[in-house]
């Protein structure tokens, strides 16, 4: 399972980077999203991948029942997903505004600030 996830993470990073290197800003935003997911999945794997148990203490217990995965990475991912949600929403608004101002989604046409 870890091996499979490692491959998936690698593919997500690669696909994200590939999309970002395209000229379209729509693909740029999609690529940013994919890279964010890759990072989240990477953290998930560090918390050990296990079947059938969650890190929630059952009502009749006072401590966690082994085996359980590490809850900290899951909490981190939850935070990172919420933050990623916010930045993605902003990136979308920015994309739309930029499209309205420049009238194209071609990144090569957006070089006035570098000249």
């Amino acid at each position: 399972m870890e091996t499979l996830l490692a491959i998936v993470i690698g593919v997500l990073y690669a696909a994200g980077l590939y999309l970002m290197m395209r000229r379209s800003i729509v693909k740029l935003v999609l690529g940013l999203g994919l890279i964010g997911h890759a990072a989240n999945l990477l953290i998930f794997v560090t918390g050990r991948v296990q079947r059938g148990s969650s890190a929630v203490i059952p009502p009749d217990q006072t401590v966690l029942v082994a085996p359980f995965p590490d809850p900290v990475p899951q909490a981190l991912i939850l935070t990172a997903i919420v933050i990623g949600f916010g930045t993605q929403a902003f990136a979308l608004v920015l994309l739309k505004r930029a499209y309205q101002a420049v009238k194209t989604d071609d990144m090569d046409a957006m070089n006035t600030t570098d000249r």
């Binding site: 970002m20 940013l32 890759a38 989240n40 900290v72 990172a80 902003f90 920015l94 006035t112």
Partner: protein, 504 residues
């Protein structure tokens, strides 16, 4: 509960909330924002004084003790940065109230400014590496909106570059934190300082150190990932540029100092050599970019990059003297850069242009403005007796003591080029008269600005200029504090003791 550490976070957050509730009432928002700026400066000063007198201050959020919960830690470096951030906020608010256009104020400039400061202060105070990521994002989202607010074409184009590079940096930072947790099993920075040397696979730690360097390097505009900065920083109004140049890249440098003094100190022969090479390339390429520019804001933006190189150089040399120089330099460069941008803003306010080729004659018409430009410009170039001289002198001496003459040569060469580009602004905007040898006509004087606006516009620059002179003429106490900060950073025992209550 240690309120001293908590208050600098509370003030900008509360100010931002009140600003939100007063949405659509710009006058009330201005008052709140001004009070927030004053409040932040005061609590920042209080924090700095407390840390100087009583040592490192710690508080555990939600009563969860370290290393399990989120810890807020204020050591000398954090406290100095919080205080300076408060001062810069106040300056920006005053300047923005008199110069910012009405639509931008109505769309929540003040609210976003204080939420951004909430993130900046949080990043300075947190003792938890994942929490640092969260503060970064609070800061970034606010800064995204501040940067593109107004929706001009250049702003949107610059904004896309800024947003993209910073989001990549965030993803890398997040990945690095995840792997670090997987390897070490803790996120508390003091706890990391204890556990990282005990990790068996030290190669992985070095790899992680470079991953962190790359993530923070994008945020602080280091070579070779600085190009988002000159593409975006000159697009928003000057009030936004000032607070960005004063604080945002400095948060990146602060984070680098924190992780490379507290956590990644096991393989300094490799990591800090990499830092040193990057420092040299950053300062050289930054200043070369600046020399080629004729637009004042872009020229100054490239100088931000080259000054970041100096800051990194002090960290890379990794001696008490060099780190002290970095701390001193950090405060100096925040003051100098902000003052220069503010002077540029006033020139733009009077003439409507930042283009050096179209400017000229200000030395004859407004001597006051000339002096206010001359002091930070010469301080940035490192001319005695101003603050920049002592910062560079200490860096050069640390470099020589470390037997690294090439970095000293690079630093001095960059100083000369800095001097060159500062004299370029001076010659073009201030001294130059008309081409045919006659006096230039229609050069606006400071008196052309209404008196009610003039004083608030000039006041922040005057204060910053005076501070730069004081830091230069009476450098002793400031440098002593910097040295104390550097020793605290290098020894690490005090930090770990304060957070975890155990010896390192």
């Amino acid at each position: 509960m240690n309120l001293v550490v908590f208050l600098p976070l509370f003030v900008p957050f509360f100010t931002g909330i009140i600003g939100l509730l007063l949405w659509g009432k710009p006058q009330a928002q201005r008052v709140v924002s001004l009070l927030g700026g004053i409040g932040l400066t005061l609590v920042g000063a209080n924090l700095l004084l407390t840390v100087i007198q009583q040592g490192i201050q710690v508080t555990y959020i939600g009563d969860w003790v370290a290393p399990f919960g989120i810890t807020l830690v204020a050591d000398l470096l954090s406290a100095i940065m919080v205080f300076v951030a408060g001062m810069m906020t106040l300056s920006t608010v005053i300047y923005a109230i008199v110069t910012l256009d009405a639509p931008r104020e109505r769309n929540g400039f003040h609210v976003l400014l204080h939420f951004m400061l909430f993130g900046v202060i949080g990043a300075f105070l947190t003792g938890d590496i994942f929490n640092l990521f969260v503060w970064y994002e609070v800061m970034l989202i606010s800064s995204f909106v501040l940067l593109v607010m107004g929706g001009e074409r250049a702003q949107l184009e610059g904004g896309i570059k800024y947003v993209t590079l910073n989001l990549i940096a965030s993803a890398l930072f997040l990945s690095a934190v995840g792997i670090l947790y997987g390897v070490v099993g803790t996120l508390n920075m003091a706890h990391l300082a204890i556990l990282v040397p005990q990790v068996e696979q030290q190669g992985l730690i070095t790899t992680l150190a470079i991953l962190f360097l790359f993530a923070f390097g994008i945020k602080s505009a280091l070579f070779p990932v600085f190009f988002w900065l000159p593409a975006s920083y000159h697009t928003p109004p000057i009030a936004v540029t000032v607070i960005f140049s004063a604080l945002l890249t400095k948060v990146g440098i602060y984070s680098l100092i924190r992780v490379f003094t507290l956590i990644f100190t096991t393989d300094t022969a490799f990591t800090h050599t990499v830092l040193l090479i990057i420092a040299a390339l950053t300062m050289i390429l930054g200043v070369l970019g600046a020399v080629a520019q004729f637009e004042m804001r872009r020229l100054l933006s490239f100088h931000i990059i080259s000054q970041i190189g100096y800051l990194l150089m002090g960290l890379a040399l990794f001696t008490p003297l060099s780190l002290a120089a970095t701390v001193f330099f950090l405060v100096h460069v925040i003051f100098a850069k902000s003052a220069l941008f503010l002077v540029g803003g006033i020139i733009h306010h009077m003439t409507g242009t930042y283009d050096l080729k179209k400017l000229g004659g200000f030395y004859r018409v407004s001597p006051v403005l000339s002096v206010l430009f001359f002091i930070p410009a010469m301080s940035l170039a490192g001319i005695p007796p101003l603050s920049g001289f002592w910062a560079k002198y200490a860096l050069v001496r640390a470099g020589l003591e470390n037997n690294q003459p090439w970095i000293v040569a690079a630093a001095l060469g960059v100083s000369i080029l800095t001097m060159f580009s500062m004299t370029k602004i001076w010659a073009e905007a201030f001294l130059k008269e008309a081409d045919d040898g006659k006096l230039r006509e229609n050069v606006p004087a400071l008196q052309s600005i209404p008196a009610a606006l003039r004083l608030p516009m000039l006041a922040p620059i005057i204060v910053l200029a005076v501070l730069m002179v004081v830091m230069g003429v009476a450098a002793e106490p400031f440098f002593a504090l910097s040295l104390q900060t550097a020793e605290q950073l290098l020894s690490r025992t005090e930090y770990v003791q304060a957070v975890l209550g155990v010896q390192l």
